[in-house]
């Protein structure tokens, strides 16, 4: 892999920590991001470059942070609607995370209607984790049947956050929410576990797109929500290269930390080394000099 493309779309006016999101502007951000990433003018072209029409697409969101710092429904549904505009079938799109409780607490209404977009967690009755243990390098896990069976293509729509152990949590670590035992992979700053999990067949074969939600960024003392260290970032990051997307997310967090007078993650001995492990494994690009960053504002 020689280079990677990452798109950062910002909006100064669309987003507020305290007010309702400007949904229309949010959709514009997503649309701009996807088009810039695909080098297209129309959402239909962009979507068709990433997905096939019969794809069943799972949008893996992150709702562990409750209302304060979870994937916003406005963003998830905005993305889903654009995918439908782009030619995918609504009934084939699933917004999901590990538990229904967390989904509800983050503001989602659960739906499993066969004809509509679906929202549900792995702990939904009849869903659960697959029964076959996936053993790969240092990983031994059961995967959500949503990832394993229901979907053919995956989007990791992650919250961009500082992480006390991993350094940064973004689109790769978001997949910790797709396995039954994420608590077993936090040793050694989650390295090499985040990379090795991403390298498993259920994820690597289906992951198509990373989107980092930087509308509100927890730049210090994450992943829990601490308002004093949360910033209205007003940005979204897009890439088909999860390693590159997360590396740019790291860069964004470091810039915020520098602005606030905080030490770097390396100085705090929690540099996200798993990104470089992932690069070595051929999963994507972690070095900034090989990442093409396109920035835009709506």
């Amino acid at each position: 892999m020689s280079s990677a493309k990452v798109v950062v779309v910002r909006s100064k006016v669309a987003l507020s920590l305290t007010k309702e999101l400007d949904k229309a502007r949010l959709v514009l951000m997503i649309e701009r991001g996807l088009n810039l990433l695909a080098g297209t003018q129309e959402i239909k072209e962009a979507v068709s470059q990433i997905f096939s029409p019969p794809d069943r697409v799972g949008i893996k969101i992150n709702t562990i942070g409750g209302r304060n710092i979870s994937s916003r429904p406005e963003l998830s549904f905005g993305l889903a609607n654009l995918l439908v505009q782009g030619g995918l079938q609504e009934k084939n799109i699933i917004i999901w995370d590990r538990t229904n409780r967390e989904l509800r607490e983050a503001g989602y209404r659960l739906t499993i209607d066969k004809a509509q977009l679906k929202v549900f967690g792995t702990d939904t009755e009849g869903v659960g984790y697959d029964t076959d243990l996936v053993s790969h390098l240092n990983i031994g896990s059961l995967f959500s049947t949503i990832l394993n069976n229901f979907i053919t293509a995956s989007i990791s729509l992650a919250i961009l956050k500082d992480h006390g152990l991993a350094g940064v949590t973004a689109s790769m670590k978001n997949y910790f929410g797709s396995i039954h035992n994420p608590n077993k992979y936090h040793d050694a700053h989650c390295n090499p576990f985040i990379a090795e999990l991403f390298d498993t067949r259920p994820i690597k074969s289906k992951h198509k797109l990373s989107i980092l939600d930087g509308l509100r960024i927890q730049y210090h003392r994450g992943p829990s929500f601490h308002p004093q260290w949360a910033e209205n970032g007003g940005l979204l990051v897009f890439s088909r290269d999860a390693v590159a997307a997360d590396s740019v997310g790291w860069l964004i967090i470091e810039k915020l930390r520098a602005q606030k007078g905080l030490p770097t993650l390396e100085e705090e001995k929690r540099k996200p080394l798993y990104l470089f492990t992932a690069e070595k494994m051929g999963l994507g690009i972690a070095h900034f000099d090989k990442i093409q960053i396109l920035e835009d504002e709506v």
Binding site: T131, N181, N183
Partner: protein, 383 residues
Amino acid sequence: MRYNDKGQELMRRRNFFKTLAGSGLLLSAGAGSPFRRLLARQTNAQLSKVEAWYYKKHPDREIECYLCPRACKLGDKERGYCGVRENIGGTYYTLVYGKACTMNVDPIEKKPFFHFLPRTNALSIATAGCNVNCKFCQNWQISQVRAEQVQHFDFPPQDVVESALKYDCPSIAYTYTEPVVFYEYMYDTSVEARKRGVKNCVVTGGHISQEPLLELTKVVEAIKIDLKAFSEDFYKNYVRGELQPVLDAIKAVHKSKVWLELVYLVIPSLNDSPQEIRAMCQWIGSEIGQEIPLHFSRFYPMYLIKNLPPTPVSTLEKAHTIAREEGLKYVYIGNVPGHKAESTYCPRCQSLIIQRTGFEIKKIELKNGKCKFCQNPIPGIWA
């Protein structure tokens, strides 16, 4: 049919399950297809929310657990490595207090304890969770999962003790998963059991901090520790833990006078070198003494290690020979039913004093804890 020493028929396992079902206690998890279905659908049964012991509160709703050497530092809403303790708003809770995921009446020899109440049954319980992640775990379906991922049932300490009495079990065994992770439940049950004359035995990997371990030794009678290897590398790569805290735990238990037995699961090419086994036996002999029972147990391919064959019996016999050469007096071979090294021999007169086949005791030639033939005292808790 098996009978206890009062001539009462011991309840067969199947009947015990029926009784439980009839009494409203639903027994659930275990290996095999029924469990696999359980995992697939999970349960919504209520978890406990009992404040955990042995943790510190830090600013900004963060906590630090010091129950085990892992010392998890967790933010709000985060779960410990064990998967059964959670920081909720800056307070650390155990989610499995009184929430057993499995319960059986087992022969004490199954744990294995060979010098502790032989030919008795132990009411054996576990909750979900473990504080390490052995790649060869035999019970990973209940140990390597989060609390909500196995079906569990309410089984408070008083009911555990009542069940032990009802089913004629002189001891309660905290086993199958890692009892350190359900420490509060185990401790309270042990206290309750002692009040009622029931003994407590713990089957653990010994990955526990000294302070909680010393407190635990005040309320239990026996502890079996799995010494999984004698190298830090093995612990790092195959256990996801550390060796030194386990060695410290072994020494602390021995010092406490709680009955101690050790098990070493011999895995081909990973921890079976004669040098490693000899070094371990020398350490045991010098630090703990030569009278501690040591069980060399046979490995079967399991969980994440399926590319190795079962341990050759000859390897186990070699380990047994080394241990005897190093002066250990009570050395056993486990998971090889019918092997002569399942039995206990008097180290003085070499007579067969406890004959075992699998978990069954064929005969006991002990009187008041002494060899019936030469009156040599045999260490253990015999009644």
